[in-house]
């Protein structure tokens, strides 16, 4: 049952990811990426991380992809449709990618460290409560740093995208 759902979501995620890279039109890429994020959030549900699944939908599908579509709407993407891939000199990058992928696949399959089929039993209780307790006690400093990073990015994006006023 679980395996069937995993295979379904994984196949859809891989297909939509391929569409992202291969599509002619950036709008199609953005929509395929949105579908891919939805599949990944379903996989998070399979991994019993419901909070992360909801955050994935809110942040990626809700915020980031809408930002992408706004930018696509603001700028003219028609001239970029004509040529999809970088001209010439692609062979080294392709070889590198194939080597990287084959290496990782072979290592993961041949190693016995990844063969765990049954997860270690979680302690009973409200997992989201425990997650937030850990986040706000042990990881309070990184949390505050992340909020400062978000503030800096907000200010930076406004400054960068503002029209020059002399």
């Amino acid at each position: 049952m679980d395996q069937g759902f995993f295979l379904l979501f994984a196949a859809m995620a891989v297909i939509t990811a391929l569409i992202v890279v291969l599509a002619h039109n950036p709008v199609h890429s953005a929509l395929a990426l949105m579908a891919c994020f939805l599949q990944i959030s379903a996989i998070f549900v399979l991994l019993e991380a419901p909070f992360l699944a909801v955050v994935q939908i809110f942040v990626y599908v809700g915020a980031i992809m809408v930002l992408f579509l706004f930018v696509i709407m603001m700028i003219d993407v028609r001239e970029a449709v004509l040529q999809r891939f970088l001209p010439g000199g692609n062979l080294p990058a392709l070889v590198l990618l194939v080597l990287l992928g084959a290496e990782m696949l072979v290592l993961v399959v041949s190693s016995d460290r990844f063969s765990a089929t049954e997860p270690v039993a979680m302690a009973d209780g409200d997992q989201i409560r425990e997650l937030s307790t850990t986040l706000f006690t042990d990881y309070l400093l990184p949390f505050e740093v992340a909020s400062v990073i978000l503030l800096a990015a907000l200010v930076g994006a406004i400054v960068l995208a503002r029209k020059e006023s002399g």
Binding site: Q3, F6, A13, V14, A17, V20, V21, P26, S29, A30, L33, C36, I40, I43, L47, E48, A49, F51, L52, V55, Q56, V59, Y60, A63, I64, L67, F68, V71, M74, I75, V77, E79, A80, R84, F85, L86, P87, L96, L105, V108, V109, F114, S115, A116, T117, P119, V120, E130, L131, T134, L135, A146, I149, L150, A152, A153, G156, A157, L160, A161
Partner: protein, 100 residues
């Protein structure tokens, strides 16, 4: 249950597809989207390991990765808008000023 290495394989495949997008595509927008794909495949790894070893830190790191990604996308799209306004191009190989 699903074995752990299935999740790792899925994230490997998504990572390679995203890396292909970053290295081979010409359009800056699609390069940025492929970057999102890369970060998401890493998140799958974090959460899968956290689940299979009953450790919350996987999920916590995934939250930080998501926050950093949101910041990165905001800045990157700001730069993109400024670039289109000043040079009116979306092609990666037109923006090689820093390389000389």
């Amino acid at each position: 249950m699903v074995p752990l290495w299935w999740y790792i394989q899925l994230s490997v495949v998504l990572f390679v597809i995203g890396a292909a997008g970053v290295l081979l595509r010409r359009n800056i927008l699609v390069v940025l989207m492929s970057l999102e794909l890369l970060l998401n495949s890493v998140n799958i790894n974090f959460i899968a390991f956290g689940r299979y070893y009953a450790d919350f830190r996987g999920q916590i790191f995934a939250i930080f990765v998501i926050a950093t990604t949101a910041a990165e996308v905001a800045v990157a799209l700001g730069i993109l808008v400024a670039l289109v306004r000043n040079k009116s191009t979306l092609k990666v190989d037109d923006v090689t000023v820093m390389k000389g």
